[in-house]
Amino acid sequence: MRPGSLVLDGLAKRYGPVVAVQGVSIEVARGEFLGLLGPSGCGKTTTLQMIAGFETPSEGRILLDGQDLASTPPAKRGIGLVFQSYALFPHMTAAENVAFGLEMRRVPKAERMRRVAEALDLVHLSHLADRFPRNMSGGQQQRVALARALVIEPQLLLLDEPLSNLDAKLREEMQVELRELQRRVGVTTILVTHDQQEAMALCDRVAVMQAGRVVQVDEPWRAYELPADSFVADFLGRSNWLPARAGGGEAEVAGRRFALPPELAGSEGEVMLTIRPERLRIGAEGAGSLPGRVHSRVFLGASWLYRVDTAIGPMMVTAQNTGAPPVEEGAPVSLSWDSHSLRRLEAA
């Protein structure tokens, strides 16, 4: 199996006047695991369908290992596809499902059986080879779908919300397994998902999409730490917004002044600063930069989530559960932060 590199070059899809995808350009390296992330209707599935060949781009090119796929029908693209519904053939056993793609390629029977066995072994399903999909759990069906897509040794593996039909615990297990499997096989993979946690856990890079466009392509932690805009910041996690007046390397929020990080030192005038809830510290009244009052709190096991009402609106704060008693609801508190945790964004 030789993983391929993929180039999406100015891809667009329009249905009449409706623009589903616009100007999508991404390069995916050999063996890379890329996440296409965004809310429903952002165009990520349409993009995937164009790569698979089920939708024809209105504009732009798709290059797999440098070769333009425009005139290649889906059946000839050699792309492995895992559907959200798995789309297993209900009248075939797990092994027959996996063998189908090899039959289409006229692989001789002996080799076919060997490769089917290998593929099922790869997903730890050798013992269920003769089961029909209806007699398998969701996780098992998911693995058959993976084996079926991988056995044809695709240059590219496309996963369309593959874990969304599994329950939360199983989903986490499958995430680990999927990541490990992808590393082992080394196949270039694109995952479409609306679940930012899933994309961040699995992918080498994520491409965040909004309204048909790619807003940011980056490593998950960079996208989280340095979001390109407020949409990305919000989509990848919670954010607090601090409207401030900047000047002279400082910013003024609710009448209090504090230092800006060096990269924002040049900011002047009205700016919007953001900070992640886990970067805010909750302290005794008067100790920090921003006074407030605890409105409510939620226990999350490993941490506490507080909502603190301040002069500039409610702020979300997560605090690690250290075992100490939490701050009471209604208690006057003060919020503080390190200046390097601040980001400046244009409000969307």
Binding site: A52, G53, F54, P73, P74, A75, K76, R77, G78, I79, G80, L81, F83, Q84, S85, A87, L88, F89, P90, H91, F100, G101, M104, R105, F132, R134, N135, R148, A149, I152
Partner: protein
């Protein structure tokens, strides 16, 4: 327990009563009648034996009609499957704008009386009809052909009446399929024909087999189409029963013919579901 709570017995009573009086007892009375004798001067005789059945089984005319009935039903069923199953798949693959319209066009005629539809075929197939007219105009040798009052005409008319039922039966099965299946097969390298043959067809088998049984039974028991397109000479079992009841007035014999027809249909249904459908469905887990 609130006042309005109705027991299932009470809920089922009205329909049960209607079916008892207008279905079960009449059917039983026909069975009984078929055992009685008949004399042209004295009418129905108060004796009970199997003489009518014995007569029928030695009657070459009845044997001929029986053979014709099932031959016509069989050929009609095969043709309906061969054209109805692909048609359902083709309509299913149309864009949603056309799909509903075309389905309506194809199955809507089900709601027009069989008499009207068959009359249309009389106009088309007659010696001076549209088809022969076209053939003569085209200079086809030997035209016009005699098409009315042949088994060909009966089968053509029956296919027209029945094929929408196959489309509907298959349509329902197609609706239960995961719409991603064809794409999954295509992404694995399958062409259009392979997708239909290897992925779609096996999964819609329940609809195909159910449709086949329905078409066979309805064709074997059809009355209007064979009567109108087959004429008086081309008798089928239904028209024989009709004839005995309303022309010859030998009710007991007519009752025996009707009973045999019912028995044959029930037997065909039983055999089909027992041996063909069960085997086919086993793989699909009774889907």
């Amino acid at each position: 327990m609130s006042a309005g709570r109705a027991s299932p017995a009470l809920l089922a009573a009205p329909s049960g009563l209607v079916y008892l009086l207008a279905l079960l007892i009449p059917l039983a009375s026909v069975l009984l009648l078929s055992l009685q004798g008949f004399d042209f001067s004295r009418g129905i005789l108060p004796r009970y034996d199997l003489a009518n059945y014995a007569d029928l089984f030695t009657d070459p005319l009845f044997e001929e009609a029986l053979g014709r009935t099932f031959r016509i039903a069989f050929v009609t069923t095969v043709i309906c499957l061969l054209i109805g199953v692909p048609e359902a798949w083709i309509i299913r693959r149309m864009s949603s704008r056309w799909r509903g319209l075309m389905l309506l066009l194809v199955v809507g005629p089900l709601l027009v009386s069989v008499v009207v539809r068959t009359f249309g075929w009389m106009v088309l197939l007659g010696t001076n009809g549209l088809i022969n007219g076209a053939l003569v105009a085209l200079g086809v040798p030997d035209a016009p052909f005699r098409m009315m009052f042949t088994e060909f005409a009966v089968i053509l008319g029956l296919v027209h009446v029945m094929v929408p039922l196959v489309v509907l039966a298959v349509w329902a099965s197609l609706g239960r399929l995961d719409p991603a299946l064809p794409r999954a097969a295509e992404s694995l390298g399958a062409g259009r024909l392979t997708i239909f043959r290897r992925v779609i067809l096996p999964n819609i088998m329940p609809g195909v087999l159910g449709g086949a049984l329905m078409v066979f039974c309805l064709s074997a028991s059809a009355f209007a189409t064979p009567a109108m397109l087959g004429g008086r000479r081309l008798k089928v079992v239904s028209s024989m029963a009709y004839n005995e009841f309303l022309n010859t007035l030998n009710w007991p014999l007519g009752a025996a013919i009707a009973t045999l027809l019912l028995a044959a249909i029930l037997a065909a249904t039983l055999l089909w579901t027992r041996f063909v459908e069960r085997r086919a469905l086993r793989r699909l887990g009774g889907a």
